[in-house]
């Protein structure tokens, strides 16, 4: 008799727990990194609230550490991200460089007063550019005077990776995080297949194509997000760190791979450099979709499912 009551009690407890936590798709948007961040997760509504809190916590921490003009390099994230950025800097022959901040300032992308600088101004600014000029002493970054860091090409990727890690740890098995240009998706999408990620067309309304991904990150760098026109010339925010001028010959670069951080950094590197294949040879798990200045689309590196529109 006792056994029977106990058994029925266990049954009831089990099922009542099951009824209360019905999983469904939840979405939320946040404002971080100057852009709209979107999350879509499969979990119970109660669980989703804690997920939102976690994502906000991670994003605001990253934003505090890496906002433009920050000179406080005491956070352990800073050294870690600096080392990762250095790796991409070396692998890309300096085409990815987080020290381009003086150039952004000179071209007016920081104070939004866009201007085309004189050649001698650019030449002067180039003296303060180059990650190899930064020394590390006692786990602290030593920045020469006049040099400034711009983490914009890598920090969002780190934020997405850290938030994904946290969400996975608290048991989210399906979902995506999208911070505008940087994304990570895992598990299956609501229709039980791979996530379908549309890539914006750099010139036209609508999409360039659609990626089918899971357990992968993706990031896009384009000349159409932040730019100004002088006459017919488009001056955008992705600089060639060797010349000091906006990188030419490409409209958009999307990189796909296991870590959003590297997708983010590599998309900037591939955008700026003349031979993107050479860089991707060093990253065998990463692939890219490139639109050149003529509007031609081509794929390099590891091939991921991509369908054109």
């Amino acid at each position: 008799m006792v056994k029977r009551i106990l058994l029925s009690f266990v049954f009831l407890l089990f099922f009542s727990l099951g009824c209360g936590t019905k999983e469904k798709w939840n979405t939320a948007t946040f404002l971080y990194f100057d852009t709209i961040c979107e999350i879509n997760l499969f979990c119970s509504p109660q669980h989703f609230e804690s997920c939102q809190r976690e994502v906000s916590r991670v994003f605001s921490e990253i934003e505090n550490c890496f906002s433009p003009g920050t000179t406080d390099f005491s956070s352990p994230h800073v050294l870690d991200l600096f080392n990762k950025a250095s790796k991409v800097f070396q692998d890309s022959d300096g085409f990815f460089d987080i020290t381009v901040a003086p150039l952004s300032r000179l071209w007016g992308f920081v104070d939004k007063k866009h201007r085309v600088p004189r050649p001698e101004e650019i030449k002067k600014a180039l003296n303060y550019i180059g990650m190899n000029k930064i020394k590390i002493d006692n786990d602290r970054l030593l920045l020469p005077p006049e040099m400034e860091l711009d983490w914009g090409g890598i920090a969002k990727g780190l934020g997405v990776d850290l938030a994904t890690k946290t969400l996975k740890e608290i048991g989210i098995s399906r979902g995506f995080i999208n911070t505008g240009g940087d994304l990570f998706c895992w598990g299956k999408n609501p229709s039980n297949s791979l996530w379908k990620i549309g890539i914006k067309h750099p010139r036209k309304k609508g999409f360039l194509g659609v990626l089918s991904l899971s357990e992968r990150g993706a990031a896009t760098t384009g000349d159409y997000q932040r730019y100004f026109l002088r006459g017919d010339v488009r001056y955008h925010h992705v600089f060639n760190p060797h010349t000091g001028y906006p990188a030419r010959k490409k409209q958009s670069v999307t990189v796909i791979g296991p870590k959003t951080l590297y997708c983010d950094a590599l998309s900037t590197a591939l955008f700026a450099c003349p031979h993107p294949e050479k860089i991707l040879d060093k990253y065998p798990d990463y692939g890219a979709i490139i639109v050149d200045s003529g509007g031609n689309i081509f794929k390099i590196g590891k091939s991921y499912a991509f369908s054109f529109i």
Partner: protein, 244 residues
């Protein structure tokens, strides 16, 4: 109360049923394609069998377009356990008719989640054999869709190709080209032209796929059961998110 009785009563208690339903996939996607001039004569055992093997509700139905035997079909179904409704949004399953390009011998195929459902070991096999014996060709294709978004009247921009239920290719409908697909049982050639996709050659016996009209609208499909081949026009809401 012995243990067996206990489990039986517990498992059939009504409050458990939502939980049991939640564990099955409610996003079921099942389609019956039937080639015959008189669907009202063969559809009953098929629907009964489908109802037996699936947990989702299928009581209300609607018929979207005209077909010579449309009234007979509605009558037959209404006499049994099904109810005819006018609005597609209220229907659990939707019946549509298509004309084939050329008459083909009668047959039926079940497609479950983009995969041709193997019915060889099921009760339906005898019915299938019987239909195949009837050699009077028909040019009417009846499509019964369960739990499925209805076909949009918008032209699609992509066609997805599934072989053995796996997506193998996504074809853009923008340009004109042809593409050949190898399957375990032969091959199949697809031609994309003026925004339409159609099968132009196939190793299968009956060539039903060859006689299916070209597809261009979101959600439209071409199926070749012997090759376990399925082509579907993607609908645009399939994008989950956008970057860039």
């Amino acid at each position: 109360m012995d243990r067996r009785y206990f489990c039986k009563t517990f498992l059939f208690m009504p409050f458990l049923s939502p939980l049991l339903n939640a564990s099955t996939n409610t996003n079921s996607d099942l389609e019956l394609q039937l080639i015959t001039s008189s669907p009202h004569n063969v559809i009953l055992p098929l629907l009964k069998e489908i109802q037996k093997t699936h947990m989702f509700r299928c009581r209300d139905f609607t018929v979207l377009n005209y077909f010579p035997q449309k009234e007979e079909l509605i009558k037959v179904l209404s006499k049994n356990q099904w109810r005819y409704v006018l609005k597609p949004s209220q229907a659990d399953f939707i019946i549509t008719f298509c004309r084939l390009l050329n008459p083909t011998s009668p047959s039926f195929t079940l497609i479950k989640k983009d995969k041709v459902w193997d019915i060889r070991h099921k009760n339906l096999f005898s019915l299938w054999q019987e239909m195949n014996k009837n050699h009077q060709p028909s040019s009417w294709l009846t499509i019964v869709s369960f739990n499925r978004k209805k076909i949009n009247l918008r032209r699609g921009s992509f066609a997805s190709v599934y072989i053995d239920g796996k997506k193998v290719e996504s074809l853009s409908l923008k340009n004109s080209y042809s593409k050949s697909f190898k399957t375990k049982r032969g091959k199949i050639d697809v031609l994309i032209e003026k925004g339409n996709a159609r099968v132009v050659d196939s190793s299968c016996r009956k060539k039903i796929c060859l006689n299916t009209s070209p597809v261009s609208l979101e959600g439209e499909r071409i199926i070749c059961a012997p090759n376990h081949f399925l082509l579907e026009i993607d609908s645009f809401h399939f994008i989950d998110t956008v970057i860039g």
